[in-house]
Each structure stands twice: as structure tokens, then as C-alpha cells.
């Protein structure tokens, strides 16, 4: 058999559907866990960033700079391989999900903060002028306008998490990339087709998200379209 046939040996896909499905499920579960945690971290950071309590505001700033300024791979390594020497031993899944969330949380925090700040000051002032409370101004005037602004960047962040979850490979999480590499490395047969299937899997998930986000964005900004037609 020649090399090309070996590289694109489809039987390597059919014989491993179970393992591949498990890997895909692990990738999705890992990503979802990380996305949920990153949302919590991000919202917290965005709120705290403009807090009048300076240690909180300052702390969140340091967090964002440190996390954005160091590679995710290094963060994962520290969480998984480094912390046990301090007596903290996370499971592989926990370490990977935490690293993804801690990393992405910093970006989500910045996205939310800038979106909130981009809502015009006049919007706030008008709301207060008509007698709305501070809380109502935020929840009914600022957030509904800030969210569509933040949405494309937030979806980009989710897509990033899904792709970066492939780094779980190095901290022994059996996610999709690790599963494919494991199958490939047993005989080096079918690595062309298996990596194409892997890429297609990521593309399907992220592509669906991008599509969904565009729909949602259109829906959330309908009010603008109405205004422009007047």
C-alpha cells in the first residue's frame, strides 16, 4: 500500500467512531464548563473594574494584565503540574477547565467593560432625568444596549475556548484532539483523514456558533433598524 492511501485510510475513522465520539463529547463538556466559569469571572471583573473600592479595582486590573500577558499553555502547565508541589492536586479535567476559564475570563471582563463604557453618557443621564433608579438605568438602559455591542466579541471568545480546549491534550484530558492523536500514533495510518475530520468537527461547532451569533445580533439590534427606516 502506498503512503497516500495510508494517510487517507478511511477505515481508521470507521473503526474508531466510539472513541472519536467520546473525544468530541469531552471537548464540548470541557468547553461548556470553561465558558460558564469564564462568564462568571468576566462579569465579576467588569463590575469590580469600576468599583469605588480601589483594592478591588486595582486587583482586577493586575489580574487582567497578568493573565493576558502569559501564554495559556504555561497557565495550564502551572495549574496541572505545578500546583501539586504546593499540595493542590486538581484532576486533569478540572485543571484544564480552570485554566481556560481563568484565561478567557480576563478577556470577557475587558469585552464587557468596554461595551458598557461605549453606551453613551447621555443615555444614562436621560434615564436618571426621567426618574429611573440607578439599578434600573443599568439593567433597562445600559445593559440592553451594551450586550449587542459585546456579542460578536463574546462569541469570538467562546470560539476561542472551544479551539483552545485542544490544549487539554498536554494535561492528559482525553478530548477530541488527544483522541485523534492517540489513534494516529498507534500506526501512523490515516493521519491525513483523521486530522481533516478533527478540523471539520471544530469548524462545525464554531461555524454554528458564528451563525447563531449573527442571528441573535440582528434580533437584538432590530430597534436600530427601525429607527434608520424612519
Amino acid at each position: 500500500m502506498n503512503q497516500l492511501e495510508a494517510m487517507f485510510d478511511l477505515s481508521q475513522v470507521w473503526n474508531n467512531t466510539g472513541a472519536l465520539a467520546m473525544g468530541a463529547a469531552t471537548t464540548l463538556l470541557l468547553s461548556l464548563t470553561a465558558i460558564a466559569l469564564a462568564a462568571v469571572i468576566g462579569v465579576f471583573l467588569a463590575i469590580v473594574r469600576s468599583s469605588p473600592l480601589w483594592p478591588l479595582a486595582w486587583g482586577s486590573r493586575v489580574y487582567v494584565e497578568v493573565i493576558r500577558g502569559t501564554p495559556l499553555l504555561v497557565q495550564m502547565y502551572i495549574l496541572y503540574y505545578g500546583l501539586p508541589s504546593l499540595g493542590i492536586t486538581f484532576s486533569a479535567f478540572t485543571a484544564a477547565a480552570l485554566a481556560l476559564a481563568i484565561n478567557s475570563g480576563a478577556y470577557v471582563g475587558e469585552i464587557l467593560r468596554s461595551a458598557i463604557q461605549s453606551v453613551g453618557r447621555s443615555q444614562r443621564e436621560s434615564a436618571i432625568a426621567v426618574g429611573m433608579s440607578k439599578l434600573a438605568t443599568q439593567t433597562r438602559i445600559v445593559f440592553p444596549q451594551a450586550f449587542p455591542i459585546a456579542l460578536p466579541a463574546l462569541v469570538g471568545e467562546i470560539i476561542d475556548i472551544i479551539k483552545w480546549s485542544s490544549l487539554g491534550t498536554i494535561v492528559v484530558v482525553p478530548e477530541a484532539t488527544q483522541v485523534v492523536y492517540r489513534i494516529v500514533s498507534q500506526s501512523y495510518r490515516g493521519f491525513g483523514i483523521l486530522f481533516l475530520v478533527l478540523a471539520a468537527f471544530y469548524l462545525c461547532v464554531t461555524g454554528a456558533l458564528a451563525l447563531l451569533s449573527r442571528r441573535l445580533e440582528r434580533r437584538l439590534t432590530r430597534y436600530r433598524a427601525r429607527v434608520s427606516h424612519v
Binding site: Y81, T89, V172, R182, Y188, F191
Partner: protein, 290 residues
């Protein structure tokens, strides 16, 4: 209109991709091998191999100079075959055999365990030594033999013979209704040993050479619980077509290895790096290509 343009673009791109493949297939099926003359003409071997870290077969000293049995043996082979030099590029283990398969490396002059799985895709030179898989564990786990691995957390390096051994053991256990607790995949031997130390793992299945080298440096930390399966030879890896005609590089390197075995050089190198002679098969009955 836009959709149509996109459609056309996709079709054109896929055609380009497929025609590229077809050309590639043509080159592959022509069955041409790299000859020793080709290598001499371009001034030496082009080799992609693992980042040093497989002591004592293949590692680097403190200054970064390559060392080990594989390095020394290739120097001897080059003298025999009149090849002026070797140009090394080192990559993570993950990339070594794919690089060979993709034609980016002439061959892989590294002690690689000869397994049935790998022989389906690659050709192996005459063996240079032993590369059996052993069980490395901590003294507190009480693991003394392969059957003690039932219910334990095992670590292996992805793509290693250790992984193949673990999969074979698991099949054997499952036939008796037993299993490991977990089988974990690592990208580097180093990480595996970290986790064995961190007690995330009870045992790792690893080639005997690095185990012996590690235990010499860190006595008492881990212990070698013996062979995990039948012994495996260590040999260099070639693309199958390069084991073809008499001038092909695989055939030529085999010829050189035969000379070096007969004149005692291989034995001398084994003594230098392992302090003992390792058993080798009868080269005459060795099948480089299955």
C-alpha cells in the same frame, strides 16, 4: 450572486487540493527510493528526530551536543557508507514518524521499539539493542508484575510502544472481566514521571533504557517492576520503499549495520552506553519489511 461566487471558489479550491493530492500520489506510487548516491551528492543525511531526551540512546550533554548510542552508531555507519555528515532537525516525538512518512527525513536513526503496529506502516533496520517496555512505579504501590496493574492508574506516552503495550494488556485484562482504573495519555515522558511523583499515577509503562538512566540519576524514588510484556528490539525506521533495491538507503544502512555487528562495533557501543551486551536477533533472518 455572492453565494454563487463562494460556490465557485469552493469548487476551484477543492479541485486544486485534489489535483495536488493526485500529483503526490503519482510521486508515491512510482516506487522510487532515495539512493545512497542521492544522499552523498547532496552532502549528507537530512534527519528529523526527537528532541534529545531518550538516554542513553539519544540525548544531549550540558552544552547541547548530541550524545548516545544512536549518535555514535550513525557516525560509524557514515564512515562505512562514505556519507560525509548528518544534518539534524529535532522536533517533539509527536512529529518524528509523520516527518519520515511525509518525506521530510531520510530515515529515523533513533532506537525505536519494533512493534507489529508500526511494521504495518514502516520498515525497520537490523536492531541495535533492547527497547523493551518495563513497569516503572513507586515503592508504595506494591506493584510487582503486570497482573498487579489491574485497578491502577497507568500513564503512557502517546504514540509510544508503552502505549501499545498498555492497550494489549488492557485487552487481556478485559477478557477476564478486569481493567486498569484509568489509562492516561501524556505528550512527554517527563510529564509522566512528574505525575508518578505527584501520585496521580500508580505506574508508567516506559522503555527500559530511559528507566535505567533515570533510576541511576535518582536512586530510590521509583522502582523498576520488570517487563510489561515480551521483549522488544530497538531499531531505526525507514519508509518501506527505501528498503527496496540494493542502492536504496535502507538496504545500504542494513549492510553497514551487518558489517558493524560482525566487526564488534555494535557490541562495543552497547558496552559503552549500557555497561552490558544486549541480545540481538540473527540479522540473516530479520525481516525489515513485513
Amino acid at each position: 450572486m455572492k453565494a454563487k461566487t463562494a460556490q465557485t471558489a469552493i469548487i476551484v479550491l477543492s479541485c486544486l487540493f485534489l489535483s495536488g493530492l493526485a500529483k503526490c500520489a503519482e510521486a508515491q506510487t512510482s516506487g522510487k527510493c532515495v539512493t545512497i548516491q542521492d544522499v552523498r551528492n547532496r552532502g549528507g543525511w537530512t534527519i528529523v528526530t526527537q528532541i534529545p531526551g531518550f538516554e542513553p540512546y539519544w540525548f544531549a550533554d550540558d552544552k547541547g551536543n548530541f550524545q548516545g548510542m544512536d549518535y555514535d552508531l550513525l557516525v560509524e555507519v557514515n564512515k562505512t557508507l562514505n556519507v560525509p555528515k548528518t544534518n539534524y532537525t529535532t522536533v517533539a516525538w509527536a512529529g518524528v514518524l509523520p516527518a519520515l512518512q511525509a518525506g521530510k527525513s531520510d530515515f529515523t536513526p533513533e532506537a525505536i521499539a519494533v512493534t507489529e503496529q508500526r511494521k504495518k506502516t514502516f520498515a525497520f533496520s537490523y536492531p541495535e539493542g533492547d527497547n523493551s517496555i518495563v513497569i516503572m512505579t513507586r515503592p508504595d504501590t506494591g506493584i510487582k508484575s503486570p497482573s498487579d496493574l489491574v485497578g491502577k492508574v497507568i500513564g503512557v506516552e502517546t504514540g509510544s510502544a508503552g502505549e501499545a503495550t498498555a492497550i494489549a494488556l488492557r485487552k487481556k485484562f478485559q477478557a477476564e472481566g478486569k481493567d486498569f482504573k484509568t489509562l492516561k495519555n501524556y505528550e512527554h515522558n517527563v510529564d509522566e514521571l512528574l505525575d508518578l511523583g505527584n501520585k496521580r499515577l500508580d505506574a508508567v509503562l516506559l522503555n527500559v533504557a530511559p528507566v535505567v538512566a533515570y533510576m541511576k540519576k535518582h536512586p530510590g524514588r521509583f522502582l523498576n517492576a520488570g517487563l510489561a510484556s515480551t521483549p522488544l528490539y530497538a531499531a531505526w525506521v525507514f519508509r518501506k520503499e527505501d528498503m527496496g533495491g540494493p542502492d536504496c538507503i535502507g538496504t545500504q544502512v542494513n549492510k553497514a549495520l551487518k558489517i558493524l555487528k560482525d566487526n564488534g562495533t555494535i557490541k562495543k557501543l552497547q558496552m559503552k552506553w549500557f555497561d552490558q551486551e544486549m541480545q540481538l536477533p540473527d540479522y540473516a533472518s530479520w525481516k525489515s519489511v513485513d
